[in-house]
Symmetry: C2
Subunit: 323 residues, 2 copies
């Protein structure tokens, strides 16, 4: 199933099912929102599956789609690609944690106000060092406290990519306070479509999405690293970590962290990595952080070239504080 | 108004209004949940206010009340009492941050699965070092990104105390990873009643609650520090900080951090402070962290002795992981 949420003027939008080619959609009778479907998955799934048979009576307008969950009860973002951790820590003169390969890095992110996939990134000050982070995420059902890695994937309901926006120049001072990210991680945006794992076929394997995640910056390919093999901690590892001391409730979103490959020819999924590679090569970062008007596009395609999730396609816009 | 949420078998419970003496309640016609009221506050407030006139047709059974928001879209917990920060950092041999008095400490906490006010704290292992933290919190409406401190209090809708449960022995390793608290901060519980600020009279002043917050441990008074004068950052400061780079959506909960006074005769609002004072005085902490069966009770009374929020009253229970 390919699920999406259409803006209908409400806070949670209208749940819709998209056609296999992603050009048309329809609503699901009796299931107004995606959160409602997740809250009562076993009971309501048949209605969604029936709707997914079509007919798809309306065209899908990407500009009207919100993030699949416009607001969520939990957004837990991991950092599961070792190559990314090593490069960004080097960029801010910080050591990788001693438990780099044994204990997942996860932070709790803001989930009350996600941006729509085509909504501008509201930036007050370019000096904040605005970046993008192209990631993959999963949306879970109710996960019991202390779930094992072996059972964790049973609770994966949907997969959407995400653009997790960091404000790089606010991070060092914030992390120095010891409480983790907060103002340095403003609202994220998710792909228009969230897919059940079966839609990914063999690409969903070992709790990983074995497909390239493609990022374009201002129309030029910036990177297309594969999200699969170098994801050191799988989604099973991440979910088990997140649920170690508390349950996760339906609609919890768990992120992979910035997708990153050691092979430099695959490019990067954030500016910070590219800048660090420039420092390593030339002593100086020359790629700037995002400026007002810059455009980031994140997509993922099936091996046969079919677009899977629609595009996260965001322009950076100047934000002016209220008086 | 004194609002609460009764367990009716749904995830969000049933919004109710409590009588002035806190012994009876009634539902609000047309407003099923507290989140719904917060989502459309201006429109639905008259219905809630009308219900608050009574009659209160049912007895209030504390055992049936959930946290006012059983799940919320955002829980942002500050640490606004300098005395607490200094003591707990000393306890883990960490320096207070350089910006202790100028930049609020806030972390994003888990908000998808709050405990009910009388629900046991599910603890897998006493070696985790389970503690309590008695705090005050506010629940906001929609706060615009970049709101000023001068306007921030306009968005405060409700005040509930909270027990923010930390697992002290998991904190050092987790903070060493640099991403802040996660597994070391499991589910919090809120007071049965959330009050509109006007219910606090003069005690709600300067964005602070100027009343003692009373904690009992196993039936004995553990502390009753005043939540007002020593709250270095007010809720206006905390909300403005939280909204610096993103908006806050209706139902966001912002916490004060552990209430703490320099005057030792007021006791403490967490075990970690008491243990640190023991180390300072005798070289050794003798008060243990919470054990299975221990009971924590958190209340706040008006100057005339009236109970304001009902009691957070939790027993620590052994949690067994699923197979």
């Amino acid at each position: 199933m390919r699920l999406c949420t259409r803006d209908n003027g409400t806070r949670d939008g209208q749940l819709c099912v998209a056609s296999p080619d992603g050009t048309r959609l329809r609503t699901v009778p009796g299931v107004p929102t995606l959160q409602r479907l997740l809250d009562d998955w076993d009971t309501l799934l048949p209605a969604a599956q029936a709707a997914a048979e079509g007919p798809f009576d309306e065209p899908l307008d990407p500009a009207r789609l919100l993030s699949p969950l416009p607001r969520a009860y939990a957004w837990m973002d991991g950092s599961a690609y070792i190559n990314h951790i090593v490069l960004v820590r080097k960029a801010r003169n910080a050591e990788p944690p001693a438990t780099l390969r044994t204990d997942p890095l996860v932070y709790q992110g803001g989930s009350d106000a996600f941006l729509a996939p085509t909504e501008p990134i509201p930036l007050e000050d370019e000096a904040f060092g605005c970046d993008f982070e192209s990631e993959v995420a999963v949306i879970t059902g109710d996960v019991p406290q202390g779930v094992s890695k072996e059972r964790a994937l049973d609770y994966v309901r949907l997969v959407p990519p995400v653009n997790d926006v960091p404000l790089r120049n606010l991070i060092p001072d914030e992390l120095a306070k010891g409480f983790g990210f907060f103002v340095s991680k403003p609202s994220s945006a998710f792909s228009p479509l969230a897919l059940t794992p079966d839609e990914l076929g063999h690409a969903w394997s070992d709790g990983r999405v074995h497909l390239p995640l493609r990022t374009h910056l201002n129309g030029a390919l910036f990177g297309d690293p594969n999200a699969g093999p170098e994801m050191h901690f799988s989604f099973a590892d991440l979910i088990a970590h997140c649920a170690r001391t508390r349950p996760l409730r339906a609609g919890t979103i768990v992120g992979s962290g910035t997708v990153s490959n050691v092979d430099r020819s695959r490019g990067s999924s954030c500016l910070a990595e590219k800048r660090m590679l420039e420092v390593i090569d030339t002593g100086k970062a020359t790629t700037p952080f995002l400026r007002v008007g810059d455009r980031v596009r994140i997509t993922m395609e099936a091996p046969d070239g079919r677009d899977l999730f629609g595009a996260i396609d965001q322009v950076v816009a100047r934000y002016v504080r209220p008086a």
